[in-house]
């Protein structure tokens, strides 16, 4: 059973559009949700993160919308650029879990066409 589910494995948008990546989770105890961006052949890098006490987090062109009641969240990439083409992983962590364990979704591969 996937604890963190990303609804799309791939997404294609045109340059300038808003890419929307969806994520849902099972465990109500998850309270920290980072999104990681990964380019081919590289390690993932933290893009933006939100805690469950918030419903929105914005950082430049990237925004997380969080719905605790529905146990889902989404990452919006505004004004998408070809350089945003990468795989995006939604992850979740339960505070005080053993070793600060992060559970990752399967990833969404985003392609931004110029």
């Amino acid at each position: 059973q996937q604890q963190v589910r990303q609804s799309s494995q791939s997404l294609t948008v045109w340059e300038g559009e808003t890419a929307i990546l969806n994520c849902s989770y099972e465990n109500s105890a998850f309270d920290y949700f980072p999104w990681y961006q990964q380019f081919p052949g590289e390690g993932p890098a933290l893009l933006i993160a939100i805690r469950s006490v918030s419903d929105k987090k914005e950082d430049g062109r990237f925004t997380i919308f969080f719905n605790k009641r529905e146990k889902n969240l989404s990452l919006h990439i505004k004004d998408s650029q070809p350089g945003d083409s990468a795989t995006y992983f939604c992850a979740a962590r339960e505070t005080n879990s053993a070793g600060n364990k992060l559970t990752f979704g399967i990833g969404t591969r985003v392609l931004v066409r110029p």
Binding site: Y36, L46, F89
Partner: protein, 113 residues
């Protein structure tokens, strides 16, 4: 500034041969350290974590073992590789107390033939 280094960058190994992958963190004392495995095009699976020197906890073993011989070093190894060990191995670290963000290294690409 903290830096994380993984070695080797890539390996091609034969089934049944031994393996040792390394990870070093510079500029951070007593970090929590993690090993992840990623199949090609797949998600990240946490394998091991370590909170302190000499202490390693297993999450998913996959016939691998890990050790933390020094505060800044984390080693992943096996005596006998399987085909299923192929993939991308990532080391990550986090602040030892109260940290949220896991920072990943550049990874080691492993191909087992």
């Amino acid at each position: 500034a903290q830096t994380i280094h993984q070695w080797p960058v890539a390996e091609i190994k034969a089934v049944g041969s031994p393996l040792s992958l390394g990870c070093t963190i510079k500029g951070k004392s007593s970090p929590n350290l993690y090993w992840y495995w990623q199949a090609t095009g797949g998600t990240l699976q946490q394998l091991f974590y370590s909170i302190t020197v000499g202490q390693v906890e297993s999450v998913v073993q996959l016939n691998l073992s890990a050790s933390r011989p020094k505060d800044d070093q984390f080693i992943l190894s096996t005596e006998k590789l399987l085909l299923s060990h192929s993939g991308f191995y990532l080391c990550a670290w986090i602040e030892g107390l109260g940290g949220d963000t896991q920072y990943f290294g550049p990874g080691t690409r492993l191909l087992v033939l």
